[in-house]
């Protein structure tokens, strides 16, 4: 399979008044064409910053990039000019966000917000753009799209707004869709519909998707491969199936135990992960997870663990697991 995106040693720090926040600290991964990749972690683990970083959308300052390379179809995003970036954004890489209400402009009609993408990137006339936008709204399952396109975002329900966001993201048939917690703000039944829609569109258009979530349940049915992030680093990577069946990293274990599962005995208690995500401006030495880790030993407090490879698609960074 052809590689679409490769990220190498990406670091994204935020310089604040008194401290430096290491939101993303040495991230590397590849993404193939047409693939759905899951990135899982608690809030504050650096998922969203990574996602914005892939489009160079983190506000600079305070954000800066001490190192790293993001190569998308042969272009290094981090060295691209503003104009190059603009041509990629919304056209080849697009993004949908967690909260579809605040992510759509409340002052402009859906039509304006959809058509401007086409006019900008494909040079369509207003009429052509409108036609295409209506088709896309219909495709993402919005009933009577020719009427609804004239409305404002606040006239749509949460699920419908997220459909609008998806339609907007896919208008130019991007190669890559970044979905940052696309279903978190939605009702459970709507969540499933939106995920199904994304999967369909992935198959239909061959769009690669990076699906970012704190909810392991979301990646389960969607992504072939998943990364688990903790405190700005990848602690485990595996096929999603392996991640559920043979989790290696204690953090992955903990994540799995903290979600309800249908196949478990009813009444079994969920185990929340003890403690809080670490302060990214003041990370503990050694493995960042050690203060919360049930298996932590002295070594974990001193040195960041090496990567342990279990099979070509499965590895984890932990002193306490062996191949």
């Amino acid at each position: 399979m052809e590689k679409l995106l490769s990220v190498d040693d990406l670091r994204i720090y935020f310089k604040l008044e008194k401290s430096i926040v290491k939101a993303v600290d040495g991230l590397s991964f590849d993404l193939n064409q047409g693939e759905i990749l899951g990135i899982v972690g608690e809030s504050g683990s650096g998922k969203s910053v990574t996602c914005l970083g892939l489009m160079d959308l983190n506000p600079q300052p305070p954000a800066y990039y001490p190192s790293g390379k993001i190569v998308f179809k042969g272009t290094n995003i981090m060295k691209a000019t503003k104009e190059q970036l603009r041509k990629i954004r919304g056209n080849e890489i697009s993004m949908i966000f967690q909260d579809p209400m605040s992510s759509l402009n409340p002052f402009l009609t859906v039509e304006t917000q959809l058509c401007e993408v086409l006019i900008e990137h494909e040079g369509l006339t207003a009429d052509q753009a409108r036609k295409k936008a209506i088709d896309m709204l219909a495709r993402v399952g919005i009933p009577s799209p020719d009427r609804r396109i004239t409305q404002y975002p606040h006239q749509f329900s949460g699920g419908m707004r997220q459909r609008v966001m998806i339609a907007m993201a896919l208008l130019c048939r991007p190669k890559l869709l970044l979905a940052d917690e696309p279903t978190t703000a939605l009702d459970v039944t709507i969540q499933a519909q939106i995920l199904d829609l994304m999967k369909e569109l992935n198959r239909e258009y061959g769009t690669s998707i990076i699906l970012i979530t704190h909810d392991l349940g979301v990646v389960a049915g969607m992504a072939e491969r998943s990364l688990v992030m903790y405190a700005g680093r990848i602690v485990e990577r595996a096929s999603t199936k392996d991640l559920f069946q043979k989790p290696k990293h204690p953090y992955t274990h903990a994540l799995l135990k903290s979600i309800p599962r249908l196949d478990e005995v009813r009444g079994k208690k969920l185990d929340p992960i003890p403690g809080l995500p670490p302060d990214l401006s003041n990370l503990p030495g050694g493995c960042s997870f050690h203060p919360r880790c049930p298996k932590a030993v002295d070594k974990c407090k001193q040195t960041y663990p090496d990567v342990v490879t279990f099979d070509p698609t499965h590895n984890a960074s932990c002193w306490e697991v062996s191949a």
Partner: protein, 305 residues
Amino acid sequence: MLKFILRRSVGMVITLFVIIIVSFFVIRLAKGSPFSQEREVPPEVLKDLEARYGFDKPLPQQFYNYMNNIVHGDLGLSTKYPQRTVNEIIAISLPKTMVLGFFALLWAVIVGVTAGVVGAVRQNTKWDYSAMSLAMVGISLPSFVLGPLLILFFALYLLWLPAGGWGSAKHLILPAITLGTIYAAYIARLTRGGMLEVIRANFIRTARAKGLKEQVVIWKHAFKGGILPVVTFLGPAIANIMVGSVVVEKIFNTPGLGPYFVDAAFNRDYFLIMGIVIVYSAFLLILNLLVDVVYGFIDPRIRYE
């Protein structure tokens, strides 16, 4: 929408009525009469005068007559300028005040919004700092300081512009700047604050993620939301500009309505004071309603019920 305007209009009439009652009786509360400050007037003449203006009747009767006249569009007679009716005085001078006020507001909005947007878009750069420092200076320059300084410099030293009077566009420049600058400063600060808030909103991130040009992001996506605080401010601003014109017209000898008001208050020219208060109030109430309507046009989430 129509229902909203209608309902608000009813409220406006009530407010106006309250204003009339309050000012009518406050003015009458005080001792003395419009003629007490003049030179000694023979009692018969005084009686004549009072009869002419109806001051010899009991107060409720006077109030009834006055209201009756207002409903018929008659604001009464001036005691200070016996040859002219209040309607005439207002008809001649109010348009000049309004023209001056309009250009002051125009200056305030253009300068203020531009400075505010520049400050927000280039936040924490020297552009931002200079725009905001200038705004602070503007806020601290009341019209009766700025006006004379402008006259000294542009009229007396450079001889570019007339120091006062009325007649051509040139006569308007200094008074309009004097009157508008402090509001330009407020508007600049409000615009900057509003824009900064909106620029941080998620939908601006979305707009950037769509690959739109930066100008489009700012002017099409951020501007409408960022300008809302300014729209809210416009109502009070217009009110204050109208009040401020009293001073500016005095400094620049503009033949507007302002000087009449102070003059009338000094001379207890009852009907002229009342007339000016009523006309100003009505004007302000209408403008406030207009501002609310404009607000609704900008923000589609507002619904008038």
